[in-house]
C-alpha cells in the first residue's frame, strides 16, 4: 500500500484530499461561471449595434461540437474504469480519445470565433460580443487546460507510470473534465438554444 493510500484512509473527513480539493475547486468554479453567465444574461438583447446573435449563431454546427464534448465525458469515465482495472491498452485508448474529442471541440470553437470576427463581431463590438467571448472563451480555456492535463496523464501511461494505484489522479482529472462538460450543457442552452427568446 502506498503512503498516499494510507493517508487517505486517515483524513479527517474520510474523503481523499485530492478529491476533496477538486470538489472545493469545482464549487468555486460554479461561482465564477455563475458570474459570467449573469453578465451574459443581464446584457442579452441590449446591444445597440450589430452583428446580433440571431444573425451569427450556427445551431447545427454547435450541436455537433456539443455532442463531441458529451461523448468525451463518456471516454473519460471509460478511461478511469480502464485505469482502475489496470487495462493499459484501454487506459491509452480512452485517454487519447478524450483528449482528441476535446481538441475537436476547441477546433470548433476556434472556427466559430474566427467566423464571428470575419463577420465583424470583434471582442468589443457590442454587449453581446463582449459577454459572449468572455464566457465561451473562459470555458474554452478550461477545455484547453483539461486537454493538457489529459495528455500529461497519457504521457504517464505511455511511460508505464499510470497503474491502478494512481486511479485517484485520473478520477480527479475526470471530475475537472466532466465539470467542463456540465458548464457547456448550460451554455449550449443559455447562449444558443434560447437565442431568440
Amino acid at each position: 500500500m502506498s503512503h498516499d493510500a494510507t493517508m487517505e484512509h486517515h483524513t479527517a473527513t474520510g474523503v481523499p484530499h485530492r478529491k476533496l480539493l477538486m470538489w472545493t475547486f469545482i464549487g468555486s468554479e460554479c461561482m465564477l461561471f455563475g458570474s459570467l453567465i449573469t453578465a451574459y444574461l443581464v446584457y442579452r438583447g441590449r446591444s445597440v449595434t450589430g452583428p446580433y446573435p440571431e444573425e451569427l449563431l450556427n445551431i447545427p454546427f454547435i450541436t455537433v461540437t456539443t455532442f463531441v464534448l458529451l461523448m468525451s465525458s463518456l471516454c473519460m469515465v471509460l478511461a478511469l474504469s480502464a485505469v482502475q482495472r489496470d487495462s493499459r491498452g484501454g487506459s491509452r485508448l480512452w485517454l487519447l480519445m478524450t483528449a482528441l474529442l476535446g481538441l475537436v471541440f476547441l477546433g470548433g470553437q476556434f472556427y466559430e470565433f474566427s467566423h464571428f470576427v470575419h463577420e465583424g463581431l470583434g471582442l468589443s463590438q457590442n454587449l453581446f460580443s463582449a459577454t459572449f467571448f468572455l464566457l465561451t472563451g473562459t470555458h474554452g480555456a478550461h477545455v484547453a487546460i483539461g486537454v493538457t492535463w489529459l495528455l500529461s496523464l497519457l504521457g504517464l501511461e505511455l511511460r508505464g507510470k499510470l497503474g491502478s494505484e494512481h486511479a485517484e489522479i485520473v478520477e480527479v482529472a475526470g471530475l475537472y473534465w466532466h465539470f467542463v462538460d456540465v458548464v457547456w450543457i448550460v451554455l449550449f442552452t443559455v447562449i444558443y438554444l434560447l437565442v431568440g427568446v
Binding site: 500500500m1 502506498s2 498516499d4 493510500a5 487517505e8 484512509h9 483524513t11 473527513t13 474520510g14 474523503v15 481523499p16 478529491k19 476533496l20 470538489w23 472545493t24 469545482i26 464549487g27 468555486s28 460554479c30 461561482m31 455563475g34 458570474s35 449573469t38 444574461l41 443581464v42 442579452r44 445551431i59 447545427p60 450541436t63 455532442f67 458529451l70 461523448m71 465525458s73 463518456l74 473519460m76 469515465v77 471509460l78 474504469s81 482502475q84 482495472r85 491502478s164 494505484e165 494512481h166 486511479a167 485517484e168 478520477e171 475526470g174 471530475l175 466532466h178 465539470f179 462538460d181 456540465v182 450543457i185 448550460v186 449550449f188 442552452t189 438554444l193 434560447l194 431568440g196 427568446v197
Partner: protein, 110 residues
C-alpha cells in the same frame, strides 16, 4: 495498491462512505440518453409551435443532462454528503445570484 482508489472501481464499496460506482454499460447508456436529449433540445428549438414554452422545456432538458453527468460520470450519486454539499451549496448560490441579478435588471419583466 491504493485501497481507496481501488474502491472507486466496480463492485467494491468506497473507503470513505461512497457506494460502488456504475458499470461501463451504465456509462454508455447514460451517454446515449445525453445524446438523445441533445437531439430533442434541438428539435424543440426548431418547432415553432413550442416557442411559447421553449424556456421551461429547454431548462428542464438541460437540467436533466446536467444531473445525469454530475450523478453518474462525476459519481456524486455514489459519494458522501460532504462532496454533495461542496458542489450543491455553491451551485445554489450561483443560481440565486443569476436569478437575482436578472430580476434586478428587469430581464423577467422585459
Amino acid at each position: 495498491m491504493s485501497e481507496s482508489t481501488t474502491a472507486q472501481g466496480h463492485g467494491d464499496a468506497g473507503a470513505h462512505g461512497s457506494e460502488p460506482h456504475a458499470s461501463n454499460k451504465t456509462y454508455v447508456l447514460i451517454a446515449v440518453v445525453l445524446g438523445v436529449i441533445t437531439a430533442v433540445e434541438v428539435m424543440v428549438f426548431y418547432i415553432e409551435a413550442l416557442h411559447p414554452v421553449l424556456v421551461p422545456i429547454l431548462v428542464s432538458l438541460s437540467a436533466t443532462k446536467f444531473a445525469l453527468v454530475v450523478s453518474f460520470f462525476m459519481h456524486l450519486k455514489y459519494d458522501g454528503k460532504i462532496l454533495r454539499g461542496l458542489f450543491i451549496g455553491p451551485l445554489a448560490v450561483a443560481a440565486a445570484i443569476i436569478l437575482g441579478m436578472m430580476a434586478l435588471f428587469g430581464v423577467f419583466t422585459g
